[in-house]
């Protein structure tokens, strides 16, 4: 069944192509477009489920833990040769060097032999010449387009298609009535395809294709409402920031290809095992590769400093925010880091960097999210913060936990985004939470499902978020791979508190309490600002309000929204005076929107059970392959043993390979042997591949409490307590005593202002980078338009002037000479020749007779002369 996985990316692509190319031309109805899109994704999801099941659990056919590559089937449609071997030659030059060296040596041999045989120099000698060296297949870049089904890609396939299916269904309801319905689903389907190529690709180049592709689709979808300036700005910002990350990623991919001679995961990771470990202080090849990869991850997964695009990306429609910026695209960085965990785990420095950046991002974004008023912005900063948690998990070595958090986060964040979308839809596109409140009465489905997501993200047992977040905190505290694990644990715990606080705030402001939308008419204030600005002659896009964001298109001067249904005097006094009548009551969303919410809510509640902590099950991850940590073991590399997979299960399954190639190099062999011994003695969790990493909080707790399980329970209880503190504070501030937020905002005014203005990061970037780059671009443009174009135009001007000069020369000088000569002759000859034209015929006849005389004279000239002479002789002298 898993042989069909090649269909999984293809079906959404087909759906997107049909919708995009034919949707408008053949005037598909919304039902048809939605049907095609949802149908293609549903089919892809079905195939994914069946494939993963047969791969992992399918009786005799199962392939777990080895990866399945579609190129095993050979040929289309399973796989095809994308860049055939020999098309690109790696320029390491070793082969050529060997050949040249061989030739030189052959020449020396020839001379030596000639000297031995006492031949005169220069005479031919028979000598062996090395033949043209055979190219090692590893030295030619040979890339195929084939899909790989292994534990990691299986999880991502399911998450992408499954959560994607829910979001597609939601979007058919949310985007109802939008004129670009077909375009939206075409872009969405294209995004699906690109994301699946990213996660299912079998080599780095396919991942790169998917990487760029999802970046493109993000641009297209954020800027979906292309008539609005903020959408265009946000989409460009996203794309450019992504590009910065992609640069690092591309360099890393080039380095990988140059180092390992191939782009296929299997080849690369096999070879990478043997490279030496690089503890802190050694920044070698692996560290550089990991650095490039991590820069890419920062760009795609919105870590510091490349996170700035994610909050602005909320200008796109809410399904886009849910799919791309919560569940799938931003997790591509996680996928990549986990996929290349071999490389990362070789470099202690980079692991530390990843963990620190993750933790910092977590708390940074959480503190910003506390003060935001736009419901989607809060969720955006929440996403950034949770991504920080995931990277923290990866940084401390718990890659499987990081992926676990990806899965649970996909569930509850998509749920909350869709819930927010439902709220926005019900509130007639009002996004400011200050105008919401008490919606639980009007939107029950949305409310109850949102509640599930809220509890999940706060980390309340037994919801899904608890399991993953708790494991992250435990692993941060107990890591032996990097130092300062306890600091990271502390920061992450504070971030978790903030998370609980602002999520409670969001729920309180939106669903509980006073119905503030009755005082200020809800819906369309930003639209009204647009229309007002237009009426005053300003550009409508200049009238950007703080809650500008996700709403459908309208004409610049059009007064839309329920705000306009009030009495006309409203225009003069914005928002003053309560018009009790005419304020629209929010309404529940149609089933196409709340059914996906229900599905995701169920997943958010029970989804965590795939990764139950070992604390509950006595020391190991229960459930065999069904437990996500066990499921992912074949993909995670263990630096202690130098093999993939945990020592327990991996070595049993790969007994032969353990002794085969890939043993660590001599430099760390001794230490790893030592550590292996240590690990065998003290259990797998105390293995320290990089040596002593300082104070370990978990070990301290263990020592204090006496047993490993007790330490784990301690941390569980601590995380539950901090979640409770956060929720409690939130309830206090926003339910019990609604005046408290203002009081504290005034007391901590500078802190509040900093948080509200997002720490002025965007302004800093603008000043430091954007303005300078724009100035440089303007300078280059000036050089081109004035310098280069000026040179081109100048030569044209020169040519024209030269032609003017030569033309003038010809016209005046040359013709003047000719005319002058003619005139001179005319003036000379005129009186002379005119006299000949007497008009008197007899004159002409006289001339004729003269001619006759001359003819006669010529004819007899000699005789005449003789005769005259003889006559003259007679004259007596």
């Amino acid at each position: 069944m898993y042989k069909l996985i090649w269909l999984v990316p293809l079906l959404p692509l087909l759906g997107a192509a049909i919708n995009g190319l034919l949707g408008r031309r053949l005037r598909f109805s919304e039902k048809l477009i939605g049907g095609i899109a949802v149908g293609s994704v549903a089919l892809a999801f079905l195939i994914s489920v069946l494939a993963v099941y047969s791969y992992g659990f399918g009786g005799g056919q199962q392939r777990w833990p080895k990866p399945y590559l579609t190129s095993e089937e050979g040929g289309l449609p399973y796989s095809w040769k994308w860049i055939p071997g020999g098309a690109v030659e790696l320029t390491e030059g070793n082969a050529e060097r060997a050949h040249i060296e061989g030739m030189r040596q052959a020449g020396e041999n020839a001379e030596r032999q000639a000297a031995e045989q006492h031949l005169p120099p220069g005479s031919p000698v028979l000598v062996a010449v090395p033949s043209v060296p055979e190219r090692r297949t590893g030295a030619l870049l040979d890339v195929e387009w084939s899909y790989q089904l292994d534990p990691l890609s299986a999880i991502f396939m399911l998450v992408v298609t499954g959560v994607g299916l829910c979001i597609f269904v939601f979007a058919t309801g949310y985007m109802h009535g939008d004129p670009g319905f077909y375009r939206f689903f075409a872009y969405l389907g294209l995004f699906m395809f690109m994301m699946l190529v990213l996660v299912m690709g079998s080599n780095f180049l396919m991942m790169f294709v998917g990487w760029e592709g999802v970046g493109l689709c993000s641009y297209l979808l954020i800027g979906y409402y292309f008539d609005r300036k903020e959408a265009g700005d946000a989409s460009r910002k996203a794309f450019i920031t992504n590009r910065i990350g992609d640069f690092g990623f591309a360099l890393a991919v080039f380095g990988i290809i140059a180092t390992f001679g191939s782009a296929q995961y299997t080849t690369v990771f096999d070879q990478a095992r043997a490279f030496p470990l690089e503890p802190i202080g050694v920044f070698g090849l692996m560290s550089w590769l990991a650095l490039g990869l991590f820069i890419g991850a920062c760009g795609k997964s919105a870590q510091i400093p490349l996170y700035v695009w994610l909050p602005d990306a909320m200008a796109g429609p809410t399904p886009v925010s849910a799919l791309i910026h919560a569940a799938t695209m931003v997790t591509a960085g996680l996928y990549m880091v986990t996929r290349t965990n071999v490389i990362f785990q070789h470099s202690q420095t980079m692991m530390l960097v990843v963990a620190v950046v993750g933790a910092l991002t977590a708390i940074f974004a959480a503190t910003i999210g506390i003060t935001q008023n736009d419901i989607k912005k809060v969720l955006a900063y929440s996403t950034v913060s949770q991504l920080g948690f995931m990277f923290l998990a990866c940084g401390v070595g718990a890659f499987a936990i990081g992926i676990f958090h990806v899965v649970t986060h996909a569930f509850f964040k998509a749920l909350m985004f869709l819930g927010a979308g439902s709220v926005i839809h019900g509130m007639h596109h009002e996004q400011d939470m200050r105008r919401m409140g008490g919606l639980k009465k009007y939107m029950p489905y949305t409310y109850w499902t949102f509640l599930a997501g809220w509890l999940a993200i706060c980390g309340i047992i037994p919801f899904s978020g608890f399991w993953s977040k708790d494991e992250i905190l435990w692993n941060a505290a107990s890591t032996t791979i990097i130092p300062y694990g306890w600091v990271l644990w502390l920061v992450a715990t504070i971030a978790a508190t903030c998370t609980a606080f602002y999520m409670t705030r969001l729920v309180a402001m939106t669903f509980w309490g006073k119905e503030r939308f009755r005082e200020k008419p809800a819906g369309g204030e930003a639209d009204e600002a647009h229309a007002h600005a237009f009426a005053e002659g300003l550009k409508p896009h200049d009238a950007v309000t703080a809650s500008a964001g996700d709403r459908p298109r309208h004409e610049p001067g059009e007064h839309v929204g329920p705000i306009n249904e009030d009495v006309s005097g409203h225009v003069a006094d914005h928002g003053h005076g309560a018009h009790a009548h005419g304020a629209h009551t929010p309404h529940e969303s149609p089933p196409s929107m709340w059914v996906p919410l229900a599905v995701l809510a169920v997943l958010a509640i029970v989804g965590g059970f795939i990764g139950i902590s070992p604390a509950f099950t006595g020391g190991s991850h229960m459930g065999g392959r069904a437990n996500i940590v066990n499921w992912l073991q074949p993909v995670i590399w263990n630096p202690t043993t130098g093999q993939f997979g945990s020592p327990h299960e991996g070595t049993e399954g790969h007994g032969a390979e353990a002794q085969g190639a890939g043993a660590p190099l001599a430099a760390s062999e001794a230490s790893s042997v030592e550590h292996r011994q240590q690990s065998e003695a003290g259990g797998a969790e105390t293995a320290t591949p990089f040596g002593n990493t300082g104070f370990n909080l978990a070990q301290a707790a263990e020592k204090a409490l006496g047993s490993h399980a007790a330490a784990e329970w301690l941390f569980i209880i601590i995380s539950l307590i901090v979640a409770g503190i956060g929720i409690g504070l939130g309830l206090l501030f926003y339910v019990k005593n609604p005046r408290l937020p203002d009081v504290w905002a005034k007391r901590l005014a500078p802190v509040y202002r900093a948080s509200y203005n997002k720490y002025w990061v965007d302004e800093f970037f603008g000043w430091a980078i954007t303005r300078r780059v724009m100035a440089a671009a303007r300078g280059v443009y000036a050089v081109d338009s004035e310098g280069i174009d000026g040179a081109v135009n100048g030569t044209a001007w020169l040519t024209r002037t030269a032609s003017l000069i030569t033309g003038g020369f010809d016209k005046y000088v040359v013709d003047g000479i000719v005319n002058g000569v003619a005139g001179f002759v005319k003036r000379l000859m005129n009186p002379i020749l005119r006299r000949a034209q007497t008009g008197f015929t007899q004159n002409y006849a006289l001339v004729m007779i003269l001619g006759l005389v001359l003819a006669v004279a010529f004819f007899f000239s000699r005789d005449l002369i003789t005769a005259v002479k003889s006559m003259l002789a007679f004259i007596p002298l």
Binding site: R834, Q837, F840, Q842, A845, F874
Partner: protein, 135 residues
């Protein structure tokens, strides 16, 4: 002066053998072809003088007839000479003369027609008043 005259005469009155006076006398009493031709030439020259000199257009025409007649004399003289030289049927000259007379008649008719038309338009027969070709 007479010294000059004799040589001049001798120059012009050249005979077949030598330049003696007896030959000159002989040529006078026995005029032959050359005398005919000389007469023709002199008439021609007189005619040419008339064409070039006179102002009256009719007189010019008559001088042209004189020229044609001089040509006729030439033809007849040679016709006779050739007959005497052996070819009895050498009448080509005379035939040609007939044609010349025909042509002269036609030409005279046309020319005088032109003169009449010209006279009607210009009221003059003096050629120096008919200088329309003057530049």
């Amino acid at each position: 002066m007479l010294n000059l005259l004799f040589p001049a005469l001798a120059f012009f009155w050249q005979t077949g053998t030598g330049g003696r006076m007896s030959d000159v006398g002989n040529s006078v009493t026995h005029p032959d072809l050359s005398k005919f031709l000389v007469i023709g030439a002199l008439l021609f020259i007189i005619g040419v003088a008339g064409v070039l000199t006179r102002r009256n257009i009719i007189v010019i025409f008559m001088s042209i007839e004189l020229i044609l007649n001089a040509a006729n004399i030439n033809f007849i003289a040679f016709s006779r000479y050739l007959q005497d030289m052996g070819n009895v049927n050498a009448v080509a000259g005379q035939v040609f003369t007939v044609f010349i007379i025909v042509v002269a008649a036609a030409e005279a008719a046309i020319g005088l027609g032109i003169v009449i038309a010209l006279y009607r338009n210009k009221e003059t027969i003096w050629v120096d008043e008919i200088d329309l070709l003057k530049w």
